[in-house]
């Protein structure tokens, strides 16, 4: 059968669209579980940097609470993860944004233990300058470890700042803006936690699945 060219062109184009869609759909089907697994693994790796893995026994990735507060640095709702041991809360993992970094927003993961001590802080993503502001990353320096074990009151509120601002946390030579943004964000997260502790730990209580 010989088709008129006016029919043939759209038909061929349609066939290509179909073939492309089938190929992508097939590969998506085939890779989706692996990709979901990778995302989970990376998220868990991040969580274990800020809350010790052996401190909790629940399925943290499913024990979540959605919160929205300007002190978390964003107007968007964020998902916080609750760590529990035998049903009792041991800590919370809060995704926090430091909006005023040198290169824009710095995304952090802040782990806060139930008593209000910092379990750990890690940078998830940032646009700070390589060699200057990027020392906030764990892979570039130990700086971010200085938060671990601190809480509101240790140091006192006025000294929750970089040294240049009269606080206790180091800045970097020639780069004060990035550390200052991170210190502020962590302090705000602690203030937020202090005020909302009961609600945060209660709200997700229905999802107390055991660790898989």
């Amino acid at each position: 059968m010989k088709l008129a060219p006016t029919l043939r062109a759209p038909l061929v184009l349609g066939l290509f669209a179909l073939a492309g869609a089938l190929l992508v759909a097939g590969i998506h089907q085939f890779t989706a579980p692996r990709i979901a697994d990778n995302e989970r693994r990376v998220l868990l790796r991040g969580i274990h940097d800020v809350i010790p893995e052996d401190a909790y026994d629940n399925d943290v990735l499913r024990d979540t609470v959605t919160v929205r507060d300007p002190r978390l640095g964003t107007d968007e709702p964020v998902t916080a993860y609750i760590a529990r041991r035998r049903g009792r809360p041991v800590g919370i993992i809060l995704p926090v944004v430091a909006p005023n970094g040198y290169g824009g927003a710095i995304h952090l993961l802040v782990g806060i233990l139930a008593d209000g001590t910092v379990g750990g802080v890690r940078v998830l993503s940032h646009k700070e300058t390589p060699g200057l502001g990027d020392k906030i990353e764990r892979s570039h320096s130990d700086w971010i470890l200085a938060f671990t074990g601190r809480r509101l009151g240790d140091p006192p509120a006025a000294r929750w700042a970089v040294k240049r601002d009269g606080g206790v946390f180091d800045q970097f030579t020639g780069a004060t803006i990035s550390p200052r943004a991170v210190v502020r964000a962590v302090k705000n997260a602690l203030l937020y936690f202090q005020e909302n502790r009961e609600r945060l730990f209660a709200e997700s209580a229905e999802a107390r699945a055991p660790k898989p």
Binding site: A9, V12, L13, F16, I27, N38, V42, G131
Partner: protein, 229 residues
């Protein structure tokens, strides 16, 4: 190896190099070459897309009429890029996270549609495959060299973060050429990419000029010898 293939390979790797001569694909080229390994990762992804797109376009060239060829090329390239992106997310997740938006942006690399239009759509599959391989390899080589140059100047290292591409065992591949944090910051910032690329283009031109000079000499010498002959 016949002359046709040899010609394709020298075009792709050197004479008509995508980045150095055609100056295509500069957006990813400049953006991800802050380390050699990032360059290699994006280069290989681009190479796969180039080969897949060239082979497909060449295989179907008889059915695709001129009026629909551009939308067909776009479909073929977009499907190939999406497929590569999903495969990277599944098997090279850490590298995928580092390269971020530049993997889907391979779609916008004009070199790919350029090869589809100017070569693959007019030539048989084996030649189109070799053309894709050679162009892709030339682009990859440039990304790696530029990445290595910037990494060396900026961090004083080579092959840092090799584990993203080669698995956790490769974490110790990193070579520290000079220790400490005294690198040339400019090199890893975006302007460093422009300086680096400019330098490499200049070096290529110098090499080509030397070669041309050498090749021309016997010819130039001929008039002088002619009278005695």
């Amino acid at each position: 190896m016949n002359a046709e293939y040899r010609h394709l390979i020298s075009e792709g790797l050197w004479n008509n190099n995508v980045g150095l001569v055609q100056l295509l694909g500069l957006c990813p080229l400049l953006a991800v070459t802050n380390t050699a390994v990032n360059g290699l990762g994006l280069g290989l992804a681009t190479l796969f897309v180039l080969v897949a797109s060239n082979v497909t376009v060449s295989a179907v060239r008889r059915w695709v009429t001129p009026e629909i060829r551009i939308p067909v090329f776009v479909l073929v390239i977009a499907s190939a890029v999406t497929a590569i992106e999903l495969l990277m997310a599944a098997w090279l997740y850490d590298l995928y996270r580092v390269l971020g938006i530049f993997v889907p942006l391979i779609v916008t690399n004009c070199a790919i549609i350029g090869r589809a239009e100017s070569y693959a759509s007019r030539n048989p599959v084996p030649q189109a495959a070799v053309d894709g391989l050679a162009m892709g390899a030339g682009f990859t080589a440039l990304l790696v060299v530029l990445g290595a140059l910037r990494e060396l100047a900026g961090h004083g290292t080579l092959l840092r973060e090799a584990q993203f591409l080669f698995g956790t065992g490769a974490a110790h591949w990193k070579i520290t050429v000079w220790p400490g944090d005294h690198g040339l910051l400019l090199a890893i910032l975006p302007p460093g990419a422009f300086f680096g690329l400019g330098l490499l283009i200049a070096i290529k031109n110098v090499i080509d000029a030397r070669r041309a000079g050498r090749a021309a000499q016997p010819v130039a010498a001929q008039p002088a010898t002619a009278p005695t002959a």
